[in-house]
Symmetry: C2
Subunit: 168 residues, 2 copies
DNA sequence: TATTGTTATACTCTATAACTATA
DNA sequence: TATAGTTATAGAGTATAACAATA
């Protein structure tokens, strides 16, 4: 049920991919051609890099980006319902269900009936979940530091502004 | 083996998610709190929006982002090997294998032995694959149009520049 | 009728590990 | 030793469809 830590982020894999793109003397000219002008392509590559670095950073904690986001939001706004999580994080109901199930299975959150609306369930974080989130926030800080190291603070602000226009 | 078109991109799902974030009168304040300041969070959300729009646009073609990228690169540089694809697109060897298998299974590409290096395989696109790619390019154009509609042309250039720094 | 949670199902992507063949 | 391709395995995310309970 939990994520085996041995399967995540082999340290030799990512460096290898990057290094060989640079200095391997093979017949690979590393050209991307017209693909290089596609915005969506760069978003996908950037997301992929961030995903990999995140996974490396979170090897010990065994938490994914989504799981941390969900945990984070549940702590921030107690008794939030699954449907609310889905809307804020733009995740499908069934997907949220799977994520919440995993977090509940690890004892990080608990479900409870909402007294006012029988359909809804109030989600709340456990002590164990809060402890995991506290560690996660530290790891996120480190991860963000790496991410922001590519930019000036003005550029960080602008990048967020540009990205927000896409998903807002 | 092929992708059932009925399972991709229900037209009512994405609009619902977006619409309800805006005007639903529920107790959901749609606040993201401190999460809103995390760069990685915005990259994930933006990527997700792009992914969904791409999937909608490509419902009929039944091609994913990765599959189009691979097809594109194979046509651009004939006889490219799987390992080269992986390096340029920053995709794991095993993952490339799966993608190439799917494309081959649909008759879009063929594998051939490299005469100079017995380990490598030269991948080439078939007529059927070229036809699919031609349609895909048109769909990509439409998709990019949507994506770029959020920005001025100067902003598009800057966004690409910023993203490239992350994945380069 | 609409919303919420739920389960079943299925597919893509990602990655690890181990193997074979070739260089 | 290193690289390329391959297979097996496994888990996360994504989404559709259908259902029950509630509003």
């Amino acid at each position: 049920m939990s994520i085996p830590s041995s399967r995540i982020a082999g340290e030799d894999d990512i460096p290898r991919l990057v290094a060989e793109t640079r200095d391997s003397g093979s017949e690979d000219g590393e050209t991307l051609g017209a693909l290089d002008g596609i915005v969506g392509f760069h978003i996908r590559l950037a997301h992929n890099s961030v995903y990999r670095h995140f996974t490396e950073t979170f090897t010990d904690l065994n938490l994914t980006q989504k799981q941390v986001s969900v945990l984070w939001l549940i702590e921030d706004s107690h008794d939030i319902a699954q449907a609310d999580l889905g809307r804020r994080l733009q995740i499908d109901r069934a997907t949220i269900m799977a994520i919440v199930n995993r977090l509940q299975g690890r004892g990080f959150i608990v479900r409870g009936k909402s007294p006012s609306d029988g359909r809804r369930q109030k989600l709340s974080i456990t002590d164990q979940g809060a402890a995991a989130l506290a560690k996660a926030r530290i790891a996120i800080e480190e991860h963000e530091q790496w991410l922001k190291s590519h930019f000036s603070s003005a550029e960080v602000a602008q990048l967020i502004d540009l990205l927000r226009r896409i998903h807002k």
